[in-house]
Point group: D2
Chain length 385, copies 4
């Protein structure tokens, strides 16, 4: 029996997206494919709030991890100073990444479960020392959402490029390059709604200008190469640096088409509604979220009741037909679990999720009246407008 995937990517994909995966592969240099690729780049541009005349959209075979590299190493040299806003596992990863390319890495690390305060960024950037900073919009490990808009207000007035890791946000949270973001990226398998295998992003003019002045220090992640491909595709001529993932880009394009059909605004509203209902159900059961107040609408990280064995809990919910993700933050791993609620998330998944948690908690001996969480979720769904 199919188990519902409620992890923060891969997620449940729409059937037209999955079906597109198995269309017999066409030539990567055919007109037909170039036109699909072009449409996907244009939709990416729209969804990121960029414009094709200014920004450079890119789609590269790889993953979000590759996206982190592409979005940063093209804009720094080994003398660059960088700032990492570290709100979880993927902040640590940026530090690891930068360690290979420069010696000057600094971090801001808010307490667990809290977003960064923009004022703290202002203090740093006012020193005018940083060439580039990164912020994780939603950290997949904690469900904390940073206020990118306010951060961009700060950075755009300085010479520090702002790079946003939108892996767990774009397509499910509001993110707009026009706020003053220089580079942003995500991966196909999360709120964009296509299977894993693609790094997707946009770089704006200020970043590209910076890149023009630097020597490349990588090969596959050299954005100059991919810029030529994107430009060629956008001019309907095509371009080649590596053979593109034809089937997956076709599926991504179907998913982006789904997003455009629904309308980005309605989609974000739907994510907010469903995330609210999940949080209501969680609290209705007496559980606590890791994110104190800056909750994401794409993922929730939830503390388990004291004494609950997280392995048993995850195994019980899986037997119940729902797959959740285990904790990722070393300091509290084993004490929490994570629920992805992105993409085609609807009230159906809310019911399944809260229902499965209630029953698994009961099996773990936690005292909760079955239906309590569900009632709270129902209430939230009915009130939301």
């Amino acid at each position: 029996m199919r188990k519902l995937l409620m992890i923060p990517g891969p997620i449940e994909y729409e059937s037209n997206v999955l079906n597109a995966m198995s269309i017999p592969t066409i030539s990567h240099s055919s007109k037909e494919f170039v036109s699909i690729y072009k449409e996907a780049l244009q939709n990416i541009t729209s969804i990121f709030g960029s414009s094709t005349s200014e920004g450079l959209p890119f789609i590269i075979s790889g993953s979000g991890t590759l996206g982190m590299e592409v979005a940063t190493v093209n804009f720094i040299s080994k003398d660059s100073k960088v700032l990492v806003v570290n709100t979880g596992y993927f902040g640590d990863r940026f530090v690891d990444l930068f360690s290979r390319f420069t010696d000057k890495v600094e971090q801001i690390k808010p307490p667990l479960g809290q977003a960064v305060e923009p004022v703290r960024i202002k203090e740093k950037l006012d020193t005018n020392e940083y060439d580039l900073m990164t912020v994780t919009h939603v950290d997949t490990s904690t469900g904390v959402r940073n206020n990118v808009k306010e951060i961009a207000e700060v950075s755009k007035k300085t010479d520090t490029l702002l790079v946003v890791d939108g892996v767990c946000s774009v397509g499910g949270e509001n993110l707009d390059m026009k706020w003053g973001i220089d580079v942003a990226f995500t991966a196909s398998q999360k709120a964009l709604g296509a299977p894993p295998g693609l790094a997707v992003g946009v770089a704006e003019k200020r970043a590209l200008n910076r890149m023009g002045k630097l020597k490349p220090n990588s090969f596959f992640s050299d954005l100059r190469k991919w810029e030529a491909v994107s430009r060629g595709v956008l001019e309907s001529k095509g371009g080649y640096f590596g053979t593109p993932n034809v089937n997956l880009i076709t599926a991504l394009n179907v998913s982006l088409g789904n997003i455009m059909s629904e309308g980005l605004e309605l989609r974000l509203k739907r994510h907010e509604k469903m995330a609210s209902a999940i949080r209501a159900g969680i609290k209705g059961m007496g559980l606590e979220l890791i994110a104190k107040k800056d909750h994401a609408n794409t993922i929730s990280a939830v503390y388990l009741p004291n004494g609950t064995d997280s392995k048993k809990f995850l195994s019980d919910t899986e037997t119940n037909g729902v797959v959740f993700a285990s904790g990722l933050m070393k300091e509290i791993a084993g004490r929490y679990f994570r629920i992805g609620h992105m993409g085609s998330i609807s009230s159906s998944e809310v019911m399944i999720t809260i229902g499965a948690i209630e029953r698994a908690l009961k099996l773990s001996g936690y005292e909760v009246d079955p239906g309590t969480g569900l009632a709270a979720s129902q209430d939230s769904l009915l009130r939301f407008s």
Copy 2:
């Protein structure tokens, strides 16, 4: 109407491979997926002629271009001296790649259409100056096949690591790590028979030992990271550096299963038989191959008759239902075309291919009795045993 893809990747994929692409995505950390991933790694090990106890197999979301990087940059520092055997477009690309990581790059460049003579490599390596050398087994741009076995005989007696680009060979040509190859790689979309999107390869102990002594100078292509993933998967525990391309690895595994079912030896024999029939048909029509004598069994690059407009020719064959690839070598582009004949290639594709070329040449005014090429191909098919 479906056009037959006779380009050097993507190719025509078996229907069980395509169908696997659209299986609803499962969690990348589920036991079920770890077991698929493990089986794929084990099959890769076998197909490359390596052994799991010694070699390190890897499967990374990306493309052959990423494979070039992973297979080289982990084994050099900025002081390393490298040698590139350049028999076409992808030799040039290695030079470009190395230029970002070291200043000491040398090339051996045989005349167009010729493989490198192993003795020339011996002359170079005897100087004991090179840390690493690369050779393109089959250059996709020319259809020339280098004699990797003899080259390995030379390199394994020296301290120079031998890296083989097997992108257009593995699964269709004989390649065996045990000859003394240190690192080899390919991409999913060619003779391995799965859609594009994966870099696939094996690194042997001598290379891994070298890696252990060097500091990483890249991130996504850092083989240390992927080694941890492969080791974890081979131990059935899983591992994470980037979200794997679940659907594509599942499809690759189906294709590797097809290869194992057919038997690698029979598969190589079949490639040889079909390649021979295509070459016979080509010559039967009076056309000339770019590869003088070192022909690949996976691809043929063919000169067009003088005066033939290559764009019209390719468009005519496409109208006839077959897609060939245009020339890739700048010095002769426009004067030749390329036929990929990998994967599920059978006598059916030979008939279609030679038949379509005959008719298109006729339309281009070239004097050839229709049936001449086909008769030669039939003859070749019937004689081959």
Copy 3:
């Protein structure tokens, strides 16, 4: 967004079943297909509780409606007297069917919502006038389940053939030819778990003997023709009367394989558990079932609260992501709706179903505390063992 199908067929199909639908069609007379067909016939035999040495399994392109014809007209002549146990819409349909083949049709019609009492059948059959009788195991229009086992106890002692319409039962309810059933049938799209398009059934020896003495009075539904096909296929030789639905039989075989993997007993238990939870949720909300006590485990027909507009209710639940079926019994259509809960039904669908009904009732102005039905369903799920 995908809407969950909670109607009594078609239902939600497992992904391996759907994927099998698009496998490139193979020859209907190939060994490969004959072997698939044979396996499907053998699994049908098992699932109906028959044995290949005695019973005749059949799979015919068509639908349950064709199944009604095949299962009856081969065993009667125009002088035959037949008895229809009429517990709903499909009882009426049997009457219509028989009217074309004989003038002597009688009915037993229990009050709406009630199963037939076996004693009433005994009274009739004791007259020894009936050549054949039909009973609808579960009437899709009411959710009433007749006690086929007790009915067979009666009929097997007489000369009346017992034909069971198992369309809404086989694979989800216990039905066993060994009870003394002479012919039973179903359709692919319900609890057998494959898309619509096949009539599926088994005829036992007593029925086949009767058939042998009669002249055929139909063509496509002439079981003599299909007997030859089934026998040929079971002997691995194949057989032809009409081109079989290759893709659908392949998909059915995958679904039958799923059933065998789960185990029929566990599958029936699961249906009972989920049906109980749905009924608990329905009652928890204060709603009433049409079936007084003889409830099916595959479908529930539910009265809407007085004053509820059924069209609005169905449209609201569909907007909520769940498709239910409207009422089918003319006398009460518009006052009730139907929930199919067959096949891969799990606690997830229970949550979705009860949750969606609660919210839609609220929208219709019915006073119910959201969560009340869900709590009752949760309780039922947790108590069931």
Copy 4:
């Protein structure tokens, strides 16, 4: 490895048709499906040359065999006299069918390999004794094509209804209800290009008027029932007699869309071109067709050279990657084989087909210079305009 299906149905289906098979099944009574069903009925009407205001299109789960029944039994009573134009296996089958419904069946049986001469039909019909006649447009067993247009010229002046079995013709041969055909039908799996499982046809007013005066003598094949369904669907309201084959009707609709996109006239021209090339290749090898001069463009039945073992020949071509059909006419079975060339047939399949026959004949010891047949096919393809 995929074997090419060159049998007279099932055939090779376009990938968009196959992909449509695995779209998750939607409710048969949903607006979405009613709209697909309606479009399919409208396209059927066009392809048969009928008009929705006059004719009744129908699509019924079943097969061509069911089509034979639906197209005839609704228009006769047990006193009707019928005439069967018998040009092969399916003529015999009509005789079998009629034997169940009337005692007055007559046949016209031209010599093997010949079409009926319309004048012979005129002689019969002039007696004014026949209520209905059937003609097989293209008999799948022989590849003989009857001249339906001239036959309709004769029948439309009489009271005899003309029923055309277009199973092996519609979509590949010219057939136009406006010639004066009263009822025509086909099955999904042949030149209409969708997997097997559907009987498809059109009945015109004169036939429907006749039906209105008769009592039904069958159930599942009662066209009155299906008329209500088709009318309901054409009015966008839907209708129910048996659960329609949702996935298959969706796939058929995709295929009908492919036909409309190509244009029926171009499609018929393409069938003629490819059939001509196949016949040229056959003759080029010195083989003989069963059809003396009235060849179909959808199928060719070919005598094997004397002494050729047909089982070995078919097994050799299958090993070569092509599946042909064995002989079906008892009197010459074992001495001939059949090639289906319908649907997406292109010059590629011509090359494969003739090439595979050449090689298999060679293996059977038949003296033919490989390439002779192919050269003749090439010549035919190049000359056709």
